[in-house]
Amino acid sequence: MGGNLDGIRVLDLTGEPGFLAGKLLGDLGADVIKVEPPAGDPARRRPPFWGDVPDPERSLVWLALNTSKRGITLDLSRPRGRELFLELMRRIDVLLESELPGQMAARGLGWAELQTRNPRLVHCAVTPFGQSGPRAGWRGSDLTVSALSGNLYATGDPDRAPVRCSLPVAYYHGGIEAAVGVVFALLAREESGRGQHVDVALQEAMVMPNIGSAAMFQMIGLRGARAGAFMRQVNGVAREIWPCKDGFVSFALRGGPARVPGLVAMVQYMGEHGMASESLEERDWKSHNLNLLTQAEIDDLSRPFAAFFLTKTMAELYEAACARNLMLAPINTAREIVASPQLAAREFLVDVEYRGRGSLRYPGAFARTTSAHPEATRVGIRRPAPALGEHTAEVLSELGIGSTELARLRAEGVV
């Protein structure tokens, strides 16, 4: 079973901030080996648990983003564990880790040391703020790095605190960024024959989600402002998230050549249900520009849309949106996503089998490829998330550690 990264061997030491990075490399065909301390990654002890059974093999946080990896245990705090780790360094292409800066070096496992063992090694570190600089020593996690990105300040209701997404978006951004960095470094190695250190900062990775607004501040002076379910226009705010019969939908009254056809089609759709006012049907949509309206005019314009959406379900509105090219989307929960006919047609959701525990349905291939040899470029889940230490014997024997040696390491508690 191939993939674009076929033949690349990755050792993944990361905690939750780096889970996605290793999974992506694995989904692209790399042989990713998750290294956990003998007690297991802390994420294994966090709820929610599959079937509500508290068990290190049932933590959904762990299971979610550690697919496509094998798993071994190794105690890096013991001298023999450290030696073994350095031995492994000679035989791999990529090391992924998310220790705070200096912690690997303090154990004699810093980049300078690793580089001498394996000049071809790519060592990628995902940290809150990066390896150096005034905040390199600061602690940080999803909420605090997002706070320092401008993105948090601009998200939420105007009368409450800035608010984050309830799952750690900073780790997703940083995880993908790390995978990009690793592949760039592998491409560079093809030319130079040498690996390098790749330093990914979560704070910096969260600035790009502002899609240029951070850089634009220097030109237009906008610091960002929260508008909740609304979006700021020149003279006021216009609703973008609307209650409907069974949930919410996203729909904008903004103008412009890309959006006007959808507005016209929406008014037509409302008209068929007798819910488009005369003024809506007679409106000159071609010249419609929300930025030229007063707040009172925006409110008047919004009213019939608000009333119409309340008579329809998310599914009804999205079906109409797909059939009529309306720029409207349901505010999906996992329930709507799992039931999506589009995702079903693309066979996006896949069942992953866990021996003795049943199968679990996952988001599968995050991209599809077409090529002369499709298996050689396939993207997607390669294997279930590993049980604790599941592949220790297998991996160590591949790396030249014999069974006698393994038995001794087990007895010493190193693996």
């Binding site: 959904l60 605190a161 960024e177 910096e204 600035v207 607004s213 501040f217």
Partner: protein
């Protein structure tokens, strides 16, 4: 240009953020990224705030400028067969093609992978759109706002007692270019090793959902729908954002995260061990999760008179995780972003000197470089067609006079 991708050219069709941000990763490491554009159908970022008074017209758009530095622009009218023919010659010449039009648009011009690969077996090409190139909803039109709603990000963002809000910037518009860069880079590595090309179909919605795997498996395993929790965590308390002293008319906030019981004791000491923090009934995470509102109120009474920077400095020095909430203006004075050189100045013909951003990766053996501002529409038509494609002068003049470069 020097760098990892010196000598590598990427042809880019499309606009907005989801496509063009992806190729910036390559441009910042030396790739020649050539945008195919037209005055007849300009990138929507060039017209987003366009009025008859905009200095520079299509070349004066701030939003386009901050996202498209380091690229070349070739003007080709794809409504003209001669324009399509030139685009095709370029596509067959470059190392990779990236596009984010609606599905079917490239095929209409004969610029899709199936057409191009017949003449270039090792073609590497990526297509990204909202719902992917196949399936019943493939033609569904939309921007990142819809992508974020469809993928589940809006549902997860906001307060449990309020309606959902849009995450600023939509999230899918920034996750998908990163995934596109990863896929394109991995395809180039694969070709380098095997000589084989490929076409990549990236659905922005699927990419977002894959990142939210925790939300999906929590539902498929237990039937549980994760929802909005404000800034709280199910695993730690306090975990929130607290009001500080206003700065003029600006509201200022600080984020504070207490991961475990040791953090809690350190927080209490940093605050001078007030009686409420010494309450043995708050010593464990379980206990604090049950009384989060009370803790949040106490903490905010303490932060309310302080600046977020003072709170963060004090708590970080005590080993407690905290950081100021910065707005877009604050980022330009952020010492850590300055240390990493996140913002880089460029000189733009219409907009003057302005900053652009680079990615969040620093390599030990190569550095991102931004050598040029975003291009004016068609600024490099002659350079690219004459110098890179080798088009004879008379052919160039004939096409120009026929309006193909409009």
């Amino acid at each position: 240009m020097t760098g990892l991708f010196a000598g590598t050219s990427i042809l880019e069709f499309g606009g907005g953020a989801a496509g063009p941000v992806a190729t910036r990763y390559f441009a910042d490491h030396g790739a020649t990224v050539i945008r195919v554009e037209s005055r007849q159908r300009p990138d929507f970022l060039r017209v987003l705030r366009l009025t008859p008074d905009t200095p520079g017209g299509l070349d004066g758009a701030h939003h386009f400028a901050v996202l498209n530095a380091n690229k070349l622009s070739v003007a080709l009218n794809l409504a003209r067969p001669e324009g399509v023919a030139v685009a095709r010659r370029l596509a067959l010449r470059v190392e990779a093609v990236a596009e984010n039009f609606a599905p079917g648009a490239m095929a209409k011009w004969g610029l899709d992978y199936a057409s191009l690969v017949r003449e270039r077996a090792d073609l590497v090409m990526i297509s990204t759109c909202l719902n992917g190139q196949t399936g019943p909803h493939r033609f569904y039109p939309g921007f990142g706002g819809q992508g974020s709603a469809l993928a589940g990000f809006n549902h997860l963002t906001g307060w449990p007692d309020r309606e959902p809000v849009g995450p600023f910037g939509t999230i899918t518009d920034s996750l998908s270019p990163r995934l596109a860069a990863l896929l394109l880079a991995s395809a180039l590595l694969h070709r380098r090793k095997t000589g084989e090309g490929q076409h990549i179909d990236l659905s922005q919605v699927e990419g977002g959902i894959m990142c939210l795997s925790e939300m999906i498996v929590t539902y498929t395993a237990n039937g549980e729908l994760l929802g909005r929790q404000g800034n709280r965590s199910r695993h730690a308390a306090p975990h929130g954002v607290f009001r500080c002293a206003d700065e003029g008319r600006r509201d200022r906030w600080v984020a504070i995260v207490v991961h475990d019981d040791d953090d809690w004791r350190r927080l209490g000491r940093a605050l001078g061990d007030p009686a409420w923090a010494l309450d043995p009934g708050l010593a464990t995470t379980t206990a604090r999760l049950a009384r989060t509102s009370e803790i949040e109120q106490r903490l905010e009474e303490w932060t309310r008179g302080r600046t977020p920077e003072a709170v963060a400095d004090l708590l970080q020095a005590a080993g407690v995780e905290a950081s100021a909430v910065e707005d877009f203006g604050d980022l330009h004075e952020d010492p850590q972003l300055a240390h990493r050189g996140h913002f880089r100045p460029v000189q733009h013909a219409v907009l003057g000197r302005h900053p652009v951003e680079t990615h969040a990766i620093r390599f030990s053996a190569m550095a991102p470089r931004i050598d040029a501002p975003a291009p004016r529409l068609g600024e490099h038509t002659e350079h690219v067609l004459r110098d890179l494609l080798g088009m004879p002068a008379d052919e160039f003049a004939r096409l120009r006079d026929a309006g193909v470069f409009e």
